[in-house]
Symmetry: C2
Subunit: 211 residues, 2 copies
């Protein structure tokens, strides 16, 4: 049976209940570690579930930042160096990835605290996560203030990509299940994903007759 | 082995390969049908994979719109009526959901063409997808132009939620796998999701000793 939450019900919910509910209703989310390094060399890595595809040519990717909360160093490092990396989270390091969201002191690198090895590839400034099999190097393109609640949309331009080649299919499609990339739900659930079906590009003339 | 795509490699990729690759590298994405209705009563429903959580109090959800492409009616209906719905896509109607992305003539409702039954709840203006077990009614809060590539971030405020109550856990967490909500990868792959692990809120004092 469908439970109905009205506007008033939502306002009157317990804070934690509403936080969990609002973070769960948007469905499955990507699990990515964002790696950065300050000008002085301090590295930072933090988990994000708000990565969103913005465009393919040029490749543009956005994510949502809450500047007043964790992970605060990610944003200042990006503004300072204009570089960051996005690294897929796979099944074998979900726990390390999750704990990167703890509010460590700013002189502690989450790479050390969470035993996530950093890696530098192709002279890119920001660190990659060594164990990740899909990693993207991005250059800051823009930041957009979201007036509605003070969050920020950070936009990066894809500068380079490193992908385990056995997952790359003809035509550039990826078999992410080969990488055991996970999906997040809510604030703290990590999920296994397996392919169900693939459909062709949807043309009006080829729409099946649904009954 | 990791395959490395440089900036130049990416620029020189075949258009379709780059399109698929860029749509795949961001990982798993939510699968949602957005329902709208024009002032004159024409309904529209279209699949989106760019839904992103923006905030919990108030509940704010964003999605990315390409105004010059499919599905063009969604945006004009939202601007006209300030109302839209977000409906989870479950395993049993992925094919109908997928074909809602075809460029139907604007006088054809995808609800009819794809055999997705519309439903009106609680006097909310925009139609819900009857078969969806998690549906959200939203009011337009803001639209933000993304200068980098002409896309638009559409932001809605959560006005009401309808959820199958057997998936609601204590504390507002949801067992989305009970609903058989799917995740999208790339442009056209639909994936089954199952829970792997759940971790507590990450406090520095409680971070495990990783080896």
């Amino acid at each position: 049976m469908l439970k109905h939450f009205t506007d008033t019900d939502i306002e009157e919910l317990n804070r934690v209940f509403r936080l969990n509910l609002m973070n769960s209703i948007t469905g499955y989310k990507p699990a990515a570690l964002i790696g950065t390094k300050s000008k002085s060399g301090q590295t930072n890595v933090a988990i994000f579930s708000s990565i969103v595809h913005l465009g393919s040519n040029p490749g543009l990717i956005g994510f949502i930042m809450r500047p007043t909360t964790v992970p605060r160093n990610t944003y200042s490092n990006i503004l300072e160096t204009r570089a960051f990396t996005i690294n897929h989270v796979h099944e074998d390091f979900i726990e390390q990835a999750h704990y990167s969201s703890a509010k460590f002191d700013s002189d502690i690198s989450e790479f050390d605290a969470c035993n996530l090895k950093d890696e530098y590839l192709n002279d890119f400034w920001a660190p990659y996560v060594a164990d990740s099999q899909l990693k993207i190097g991005l250059e800051l393109e823009d930041t957009i203030d979201i007036k509605a609640n003070g969050t920020i949309l950070v936009i990066g331009k894809v500068k380079e990509i490193h992908i385990e080649d056995s997952c790359i299919q003809e035509n550039g499609r990826l078999k992410l299940e080969k990488l055991k990339t996970v999906a997040i739900s809510g604030l703290n659930k990590y999920n296994k994903v397996s392919e169900l079906a693939e459909f062709p590009y949807a043309r009006v003339s080829e729409v099946p007759e649904f009954k």
